[in-house]
């Protein structure tokens, strides 16, 4: 049972990698076959957001409880989330090259939001490395993490809904919105989301075990 979710995540990811390319998708304007990116790009972002949310929760807990392990866990979750942001960005960028004709555009609020989120977490890592004292670092970085997570969510959830966007799902573009995904696609999309989120949890657990071993070695 201990390995259950790990096996499940690997099986689901392989299933979506293979079946995502084989099953049939609706023919939509502009998107055509590239709609398959919804099986890879979107679940990776979900996993990233899930990890950032985990980091946020651990930061809140670290404020009320001075155990250094909670702070380390918040940091580990942020690292894993950051690790997921990079493939998320790469899959999106490759997709954009073939649909929009450019690797990157500043016209799209979601893309800006992602760039800013990455900067926010880089700032969080810099802040952590600049404080030596463990207790102090735990408190300061938790405060910044909570504040930054709220700001990031305003950026990627609220602002894109206010303006037009080229992004699928916004501004009337054909998309990953619920109207455009048929039941055939859902049989791949939902397993993909579950698979990637479980995979992120697995990585998170691994990072935590490494941290625990490192602190034991230091003692």
């Amino acid at each position: 049972m201990k390995y259950g979710y790990k096996i499940l995540s690997v099986l689901l990811i392989f299933y979506t990698l293979i079946w995502g390319l084989l099953n049939s998708v609706p023919r939509l304007d502009i998107l055509n076959e590239t709609i398959r990116n919804v099986y890879y790009h979107v679940p990776i972002w979900f996993a990233m957001l899930f990890m950032m949310g985990t980091s946020f929760v651990y930061s809140i807990r670290a404020l009320s409880n001075s155990s250094p392990l909670l702070d380390t866990k918040a940091f580990n979750a942020a690292i894993v989330g950051f690790f997921f942001a990079l493939p998320g960005l790469a899959t999106g960028s490759i997709w954009a090259k073939y649909t929009w004709g450019t690797w990157w555009t500043f016209q799209d609020p979601k893309l800006n939001g992602v760039a800013i989120s990455i900067l926010i977490y880089l700032a969080y890592f810099v802040l952590r490395f600049s404080v030596e004292d463990e207790q102090k670092r735990a408190r300061i970085s938790a405060v910044y993490n909570i504040f930054a997570f709220v700001m990031m969510n305003i950026f990627i959830m609220v602002l894109p809904r206010l303006t037009d966007s080229l992004h699928p799902g916004n501004g009337g573009n054909p998309a990953f919105a619920k109207y455009d995904m048929n039941s055939n696609m859902r049989t791949v999309f939902y397993p993909a989301v579950i698979g990637w989120v479980l995979f992120s949890v697995w990585l998170f657990e691994l990072k935590n075990r490494i941290s625990v071993i490192n602190t034991k070695l230091d003692e």
């Binding site: 800006n112 800013i116 802040l127 408190r139 300061i140 910044y144 930054a148 709220v150 950026f155 602002l159």
Partner: protein, 216 residues
Amino acid sequence: MLLHLIKKEFLLEFRQKSTIGGVLVYVIGTIFVSALCFKGHLDKPTWNALFWVITLFTSVTISGKSFLKETGGQALFNFLHYSPQQFIVAKTLYNMVFMLCLSFITFFFYGFFIKNEVQNLGLFFIVLTLASSGLAGILSLMSAISSKASGNFAIMSILSFPVLMPLILVVIRLSKQAVDGLEWAGVGFDFIVILLALNVLTIALSFLLFPYLWRD
């Protein structure tokens, strides 16, 4: 108690005339350099962007030092006499008033040296007010964090710029409408609501989070 703290902040600021003078020279110098570089060849979007970039950098410079004074014996005194909530609210309110005056001064000199492109002044002043209070709110907390971290200026800008971006983007879009001279009916009021909400949210978060930075 709160008023007392705010009064103390103002007294400290005006006693040390070098800081206020320094800020004014900083603002005027930046504007003058930009005026010389552009020589009046600015279209409206550039005018708008340049104004907010100058305001952004000024506010980070000003607010960055707002917690640096609070070290050693001063910090101990504050810790014994005031509650953290009072302290952060006083700091934020003080920074808001200061930033508000400063942004109006910036606007005056910017209009004087470069030119005044704003056609809907009422809307622009609303944006200026909300923007400077929002900047002051976020930067007060960031300044507290960076003063605890190591207190150098690099950390302050690294921490602040990413979290300021949502605010700045909304502000720039709204101020563009003021520059273009949009009629009141066409103004994006949901942007104003978002700005107000950002202000409230920032103050609420500082209020909740600052006590954890306080004890040392």
